[in-house]
């Protein structure tokens, strides 16, 4: 009943596992490359719905001639409303003005009247706005991390808040790497969803880490600083296991429901949000139990030792 899990003792396995996943993500992103969505790098995608069969090359020819640049076409089907779609992607970063877009639409429907082409969606992003968006996201993430360190440093003074804060941010970076790995492995586009997932996981993981820190803080108060750090941390994590498991189950269940429904309905934009989020949530609970507190024992232990030898 009162078994205490030895988390700290197994820290090497955890570090190896995490390092392996992160390394895998890095290697894969070099080998496969990553798909940065036009939201970030700029470009244009126009999607039309059509009926019957369509000559993809013909569409590409007409479009690239009018736009004066090369383009790529792909066929798809939206399961949300059963429409067959053809997407034209212009990777160039100059962007297409609405006039050009409208002339493409006009001549496509003139030259391919049987397909009954209708504009389904279109997106045109200027590369500077795209970069601005990316930069803003990164600043938002970095700023959040700073706020976290300051807040934890202030609220958890008793257990060496600054060190704890830094450990929690390392755990956060770890979670984000996992989310990134998920995007690379699943071949999802890096887009606004990616940023939304990162920021959600940021909040969730910090929350989980703080629950553990809170317990460590409380146990520190109950048992004083006599108790060795390793034991203190193991005990605290064990006491929180019920909460960690149950909150993870409820949160992940909610997002898995979204995933399944998105998969069935074929709403890819939601799937590429919900699935990485599930991975991120799992990574968050893993890192806040196995990475942040164990890292804290290592760092805080080193600081305590240094302080202790100085006193002598």
């Amino acid at each position: 009943m009162n078994k205490v899990y030895d988390i700290v003792g197994r820290k090497k396995y955890f570090y190896c596992f995490s390092a392996a996943i992160i390394a895998l993500a890095l290697i894969l992103s070099f080998v496969l490359g990553m798909n940065v969505d036009i939201e970030f790098k700029g470009g244009t995608i126009i999607t039309y719905s059509y009926e019957g069969a369509i000559d993809e090359d013909r569409v590409a020819d007409i479009a690239s001639e009018l736009a004066g640049q090369s383009c790529r076409t792909s066929l798809g089907e939206s399961l949300a409303d059963g429409m067959k779609t053809v997407s034209i992607t212009f990777p160039s970063s100059t962007g297409l003005s609405s006039e050009v877009q409208s002339s493409i639409t006009d001549s496509l429907s003139q030259q391919l009247p049987d397909s009954k082409l209708a504009l389904y969606s279109s997106q045109d992003v200027d590369p500077t706005t795209g970069r601005g968006f990316l930069g803003k996201c990164l600043v938002a993430v970095a700023f959040s991390a700073v706020v976290m360190i300051v807040y934890i440093g202030f609220r958890f003074k008793r257990i060496g808040g600054w060190v704890a804060g830094c450990c929690s941010v390392i755990a956060l970076i770890h979670d984000m790497c996992f989310v990134y790995a998920c995007f690379v492995i699943c071949r999802f586009d890096i887009n606004a969803n990616f940023m939304a997932v990162l920021l959600t996981v940021l909040g969730y993981s910090i929350n989980a880490t703080i629950i553990i820190y809170d317990r460590i803080r409380e146990n520190r108060r109950l048992y004083g600083s006599e108790k060795p750090l390793d034991e203190l941390v193991n005990m605290s994590i064990t006491q929180c296991v019920g909460r960690s498991v149950n909150t993870t189950v409820t949160t992940v269940t909610a997002m898995v429901c979204v995933c399944i429904v998105a998969l069935v309905a074929g709403v890819e934009s939601i799937l590429s949000f919900a699935f990485p989020l599930v991975i991120g949530l799992l990574a968050g609970v893993y890192s806040s139990n196995c990475i942040a507190p164990t890292l804290w024992t290592v760092l805080q232990g080193a600081i305590d030792k240094k302080g202790g030898s100085k006193k002598k």
Binding site: Q101, S122, C137, T247, T250, A254, V258
Partner: protein
């Protein structure tokens, strides 16, 4: 907590039920065919263009042009006017003066199957044609006719500036607002000619933008220096509006689109319905799980969760008729679903603590009390950090004139305003979810649990996850 009465449980439950009913059904009074919303229902939710379909476009001056602040105002006025002319009234328009961007977003026009968004956007960005015409004759469609159609006195390119100014009426000492108009030499010449002719007969000069008459004035004297003052029954705002419109006609460039996104109407509705189903399933599963794991506190958590979800919806509709509703996007719905999962965290934390205290041999009363007390610091610290994240998100991706965006402009100064409405909506639901969590997950749950534990039938520790009293 001992003072809490048995009835409190029922009061809280009834309050949550009433709240839910009001949020879903709304309250409105009908007086002489005019319906006034007192409390909005779910039908009043404004769906983002990723759900309702629509157009999201950023206009900016052509490359290399540094527009002045007045010119941006003028461009804004021109866009607004054209949106209304196209029959688009429910648009959102934001001006980012630092980066010379104007962001316009409007939903697919209901009932308009032939609506061509590309043509509409093209038309929006066109240069406005401003004309000052003789007389005030128009046909049934409001277009200039007769002498007004034929006699164009000055066109917009001769306008040097149009600004708000005021005169002090010598008789009444009251401030009279109006528009000061300055024309270039060529414009001044034709204006002088026309005014000297029209002043004799108290003729009228009307101002037109494209084919809309935006104002008309009686000529009181000949104006030879090209500096006119248009007076009338203006307030500061209406004078500014006219000045902006005239300046819009004098804009020396055409607006170009730098970002342009169109989403068809059918695409989003399918996605929305999928999300709503997902939310419902998630809700049921989470409730069942909580009840299975924590028994009585699980039941309480489920009731609190109803309040939490209803609260999120109320914050989106605006609840009261006079609060504008918040645009809900697909990630916004995802945020609500996420808060269903995370919303029970407070209940999980306390229930775990109660269980622990019971196992260490405490009585139910002190276990409940200690459970809430001990879990509080972790709930508080944990939730507060999420509040920070939500606020940072909203500051980064909200409209540039919103409070949070202004408060955080120093942080994002280097970046243009990106109104990534999807992330903004997500941040909002996340924020609302966390705040409601304090209300329902902590306060309401605590009241309900403390009150229900007063019932004799509810005094078995087993119900709280403890060991049964043999």
């Amino acid at each position: 907590m001992r003072r809490i009465n048995k009835n409190v449980f029922f009061i809280v439950v009834v309050l949550i039920a009433v709240f839910a009913l009001l949020t879903f059904m709304g309250v409105s009074t009908t007086y002489a065919d005019i319906e006034t919303k007192i409390i909005k229902s779910v039908d009043d939710i404004r769906w983002g263009i990723d759900i309702s379909g629509g157009v999201d476009v950023t206009f900016s001056p052509p490359e290399g042009v540094e527009a002045s602040s007045e010119q941006m105002d003028a461009a804004k006025a021109a866009l607004e006017m054209r949106l209304v002319n196209l029959g688009i009234t429910d648009y959102e328009l934001y001006v980012d003066k630092a980066d010379y961007d104007i962001i316009v977003r409007f939903p697919w026009q209901a009932g308009e199957e032939e609506f061509d968004p590309e043509a509409a956007v093209e038309e929006l960005g066109e240069m406005a044609e401003l004309t000052f015409r003789e007389g005030y004759e128009m046909d049934d469609l409001g277009q200039p006719s007769g002498v007004t159609a034929e006699n164009v006195i000055v066109t917009g390119d001769h306008v040097v500036s149009a600004t708000v100014s005021y005169m002090i009426d010598e008789l009444t000492n009251e401030i009279q607002y109006g528009v000061s108009l300055e024309l270039d030499s060529e414009g001044a010449q034709s204006f002088a000619e026309a005014t000297s002719r029209l002043a004799e007969s108290s003729g009228v000069i009307s101002t037109w933008m494209d084919y809309d008459c935006i104002s008309y004035a009686t000529v009181s004297e000949a104006i030879s220096d090209g500096k006119a003052f248009i007076s009338g029954d203006f307030t500061y705002d209406s004078a500014k509006e006219l000045a902006d419109k005239i300046s819009a006609g004098a804009l020396p460039y055409k607006l170009v689109t730098s970002n342009f996104r169109v989403i068809s109407a059918t695409m989003g509705v399918g996605a929305r319905n999928a999300m709503l189903i997902a939310g419902l399933i998630a809700f049921i599963v989470v409730c069942l799980y909580m009840i299975a794991m924590y028994r009585l506190p699980g039941v309480i958590a489920s009731i609190a969760l109803v309040g939490q979800v209803v609260g999120s919806i109320a914050c989106i509709t605006g609840f009261f008729g006079n609060i504008p509703s918040f645009t809900l996007t697909i990630p916004g719905i995802a945020g609500i679903v996420l808060s269903i999962g995370m919303g029970v965290d407070a209940n999980v934390l306390t229930s775990e603590r109660i269980k622990e205290e019971l196992r260490s041999g405490k009585t139910i009363n002190s276990a409940l009390e200690l459970g809430y007390k001990r879990a509080w610091t972790s709930i508080f610290d944990g939730n507060l950090t999420i509040v920070f994240v939500a606020i940072i998100l909203m500051g980064a991706f909200g409209p540039p004139d919103s409070l949070l965006a202004k408060a955080m402009s120093w942080l994002y100064f280097a970046f243009p305003a990106t109104i990534e409405g999807m992330i903004y909506s997500f941040g909002y639901t996340l924020l609302v979810g966390v705040i409601l969590n304090f209300v329902f997950g902590v306060l309401a749950s605590r009241l309900m649990l403390a009150s229900i534990s007063k019932f004799k039938a509810m005094r078995n520790p087993k119900l709280y996850g403890g060991v049964s009293v043999e």
